[in-house]
């Protein structure tokens, strides 16, 4: 128990910031070092068959300090979880700002130990389900101009309308160009839908689970077609990598594969 050591900002460190849960390991309960948020010392609190990775903190959430400070804290949390994955082979990540505060006359440590004891079986089962697996982010982008150019070249309907537009007056040709745009949009939508299906099917084939994330808005030069989070057995990570390489070899596509990451989307 570390008690209520004062923080540099004068607030009392009466609470415990929880990074994640790992399997209890009798042989390894050493601190992870001063690698936590704002350089906090991350230590291991064990109860039964699981351990929590925590640091001592005030009972208020971490906020303020601007975007760069917030980004540094999120990165620090990520680094702690990556280290946990390397050390224990698995980690069940908690969301940012998971803080156990003293309550009902109990200290934060007591509350944390009670929670770990109450949830021991379920937490261990969730941890065990993630052993040997990691999250990978798979994003596929396309160049709209390249897609549209290919459609225009391959579509007999577009070629016919383009020829037709040349024979019309400017006002009438305007409507023909609108027809061309309509055909291009429809074929682009169908092409993107096929692409999404191909990427999802390919990723699913080498993943235990896949979730579809929101597609972020791109630019005129590069649009995101699909954004997946994949829970992958590490022994199959090469398969996902190979699939990503195969997709990136296709004309007009850019693929981003990020990982292995803590299983943020699957815990």
């Amino acid at each position: 128990m570390t008690g209520t050591r004062p923080r540099e900002d004068g607030r009392q460190s009466v609470a415990r910031y929880v990074y994640g849960i790992v399997p209890a390991d009798e042989t390894d309960r050493n601190d992870l070092g001063d690698i936590g948020l704002d350089g906090s010392r991350v230590r291991v609190v064990t109860q039964g068959r699981v351990s929590a990775l925590v640091h001592d903190c005030a009972a208020q959430p971490y906020d303020g300090g601007g975007e760069s400070v917030a980004a540094a804290r999120v990165l620090a949390q990520h680094e702690v979880l990556l280290l946990a994955m390397r050390r224990w082979g698995v980690v069940l990540p908690m969301t940012f700002n998971t803080i156990v505060a003293p309550s009902d006359g109990r200290s934060a440590d007591d509350s944390l130990l009670h929670w770990l004891a109450d949830e021991n079986v379920s937490l261990r089962a969730r941890v065990d389900a993630l052993v040997g697996k990691a999250e990978f982010g798979l994003q596929v982008f396309y160049v709209p101009a390249a897609f549209l150019r290919r459609i225009a070249e391959e579509s007999a309907e577009v070629r016919r309308l383009e020829e037709e537009a040349k024979t019309k007056t400017a006002g009438l040709a305007y409507f023909t160009r609108q027809e061309i745009n309509k055909v291009l949009r429809k074929e682009l939508d169908e092409g993107i839908r096929d692409l999404v299906t191909t990427v999802y099917t390919g990723a699913r084939a080498c993943s235990d689970r896949v979730t579809i994330e929101k597609v972020k808005r791109g630019t005129d030069e590069l649009m995101m077609a699909v954004n997946l989070s994949c829970l992958v057995a590490l022994v199959r990570a090469d398969d996902l990598q190979a699939f990503a390489v195969e997709m990136s070899g296709r004309d007009g596509l850019t693929v981003r594969l990020v990982g292995p990451l803590p299983p943020y989307s699957f815990c």
Binding site: T169, A170, G171, L172, A173, Y174, F175, Q178, Y200, R204, R209, V210, T211, I212, E213, K214, R217, S229, S265
Partner: protein, 103 residues
């Protein structure tokens, strides 16, 4: 929370919003014209005049956005509206259509 409002940003944002809304009205006019074309309810001469007018309107909007310096603001408003519609449609049909986990 303090909000810093810069006069120029406010003007650009407001003008951008107005132009974006006017652009949506213009696109509605174009869709209506396309429906008339497909229904065959206009003569060729009328369609020619209408097409020319819409083309002039397109040019006027492009010039206006450049002259007022609001092209990015208009794009931002349009992107925001598109995103709202996409989110709504995605929520309504996404999970059912794809039959997969979705966040």
């Amino acid at each position: 929370m303090n909000v810093d409002i810069d006069g120029d940003d406010l003007r650009t944002g407001l003008v951008g919003l107005v132009v974006a809304l006017a652009e949506i009205v213009k696109e509605t006019l174009r869709l209506q014209a396309m429906r008339r074309l497909e229904a065959g309810s206009l003569t060729e001469a009328e369609l020619d005049r209408l097409g020319q007018a819409l083309m002039d309107l397109d040019d006027a909007f492009e010039r206006m956005k450049i002259e007022l310096g609001v092209a990015d603001a208009v794009r931002s408003v349009r992107d925001g509206l598109d995103q709202a519609v996409e989110d709504l449609v995605g929520t309504l049909i996404g999970v059912e259509q794809l039959g997969v986990e979705q966040r």
